[in-house]
Symmetry: C2
Subunit: 296 residues, 2 copies
């Protein structure tokens, strides 16, 4: 069965120019909670200085209605962010690195090695944490940690990224104890063959079913990539309602692949998704209209 | 069989902020000519004052390599534009109106009735023209004319547009002698049910197979709409490589539905498309890279 992480409230809104009022974000997440997703990435506990769009993460977490069974996660850049996330009772955290040194430097002002050093205590603390949320099974393993590897196929500055580099970063993240590796085609250039090469490069380290694939749809190929990934065994995908987003650090990048499109693809392939397209459309219409209002 | 009009060079590039150099446009169209499309909307013979992005229409037409069997068309706003189009030996012209008065006024500075008045002599002249291009069958019926009806589902200013209004405009265009009605969901808000209502409204005037559907993918629903339209009998779709475009007059609108995505949809549905995805990817990669260069 398909597992969808709706990343619109975080990856989508972070990369939109418009700042959406807190109450609209809360309503957006509440609408998303009705859509049948396994996980919703709600916000980011990053300094509002860097990402003013998500400066209200704590308030959003305080005000959303949590639906049992749904994991409400947040991006966490450092220990301070983790404290905020724990105080907000997030169900799961996500950390962020890249397979490209240049992108890592431009995006997080740190080398890949430095991002991993920064994560080590974050992950240690998260794993020692009693889980607080409703959405996860209480295995005593602490807060689950997702680790993003951005530029897993190509970098806007360096061009194509060799699968070996992704494998190297993934291996180091696994050593640090993360629960989930999320492979991002950050600028949306992948072809299906690139996706296959990426997973070939991970053989012996990770099987496709142990990863999440995070596609952007800059060149209209995201669905073809998702289909190939599915055939390779990938079962977990990120997407954002209405294809919200883009990437201010990646010139020319468009938004995440639309949740509607991913769900539609798997419906056409005859796979079970548990996602409700009419509720997804409601959530998309809501946030697009609020964005239009906030813009005007 | 699916009929695709690739509108990236016109509707896509017109709505991108970046101005692409003429030689890159020529190369883009030449790459598109190898992709298996029935038609390529190459440019617009509109004043460079209004659309500087397409001010080089004549030069682009002069320099492209025309592939036999492909129709090379252009948008024409008025008689002066038609003269330019005829001089450039376009195979087909397109005129542009809307189902929304407000959008028509904001976009073309004319009421719907005024746009139709403006078209009447353009269409008359086009139909009296000996066809000059390679791409059309020489029936002696002059230059074929496509007529766009934008905002066929909703208007960014007026909201939902009743199907009766679309029907009314379509009827007047048919009276003027156009060959093809192209229904545009200009801001990309349609649901599959909206598409069905649109075609229900045309019953007795036009069957779905006599229309072209022009979808934008603002909310991730374009493929679901295309699939519904196909089931209703629509066989002709507009799309743009890589989903180029947007609409400066329609706040929040994203690009055209990506050609890659439309072709992928019909491949999955088991329908014949004649389109070559690897060549389409080459054309998309080329234009996205040139856009990035032009932007930097």
């Amino acid at each position: 069965m398909l597992r969808i992480t709706e990343v619109g409230p975080r990856d989508g809104l972070q990369n939109e120019k418009t700042i959406i009022p807190t109450e609209d974000k809360v309503r957006f997440v509440d609408l998303l909670s009705e859509c049948g997703f396994a996980e919703i990435e709600v916000s980011s506990f990053v300094s509002p200085k860097w990402v003013p769009q998500l400066g209200d993460a704590a308030e959003v977490f305080a005000r959303i209605k949590r639906r049992p069974g749904v994991i409400y996660s947040a991006l966490v850049p450092n220990e301070k962010g983790l404290e905020g996330a724990i105080a907000a009772k997030v169900d799961k955290i996500a950390v962020f690195t890249a397979a490209s040194e240049t992108f890592s430097l431009k995006n997080t002002n740190a080398t890949i090695a430095q991002t991993l050093e920064r994560f080590a205590p974050v992950i240690r603390k998260a794993k020692s944490q009693a889980s607080s949320g409703d959405g996860i099974d209480k295995t005593g393993a602490g807060l689950p940690v997702r680790a993003y590897i951005s530029c897993a196929v190509a970098c806007p500055y360096e061009g194509p990224i060799a699968p070996e580099r992704v494998r190297d970063v993934a291996a180091r993240l696994i050593d640090l104890g993360v629960d989930e590796i999320d492979l991002g085609d950050t600028i949306g250039v992948a072809t299906p063959d690139d996706v296959e090469r990426l997973y070939d490069g991970l053989k012996g380290l990770l099987v496709p079913a142990q990863t999440t694939l995070h596609l952007h749809d800059t060149r209209g190929r995201a669905l073809a990539c998702a289909e190939r990934a599915w055939r390779l065994g990938v079962r977990s995908f990120d997407s954002s309602c209405a294809g919200l987003g883009g990437c201010p650090y990646a010139p020319g990048a468009k938004g995440n692949v639309a949740t509607e499109a991913i769900v539609g693809l798997f419906e056409r392939l005859g796979e079970r998704t548990d996602a409700d397209q009419s509720r997804i459309a409601q959530a998309s219409d809501f946030i697009i209209e609020r964005r239009t209002v906030a813009n005007s």
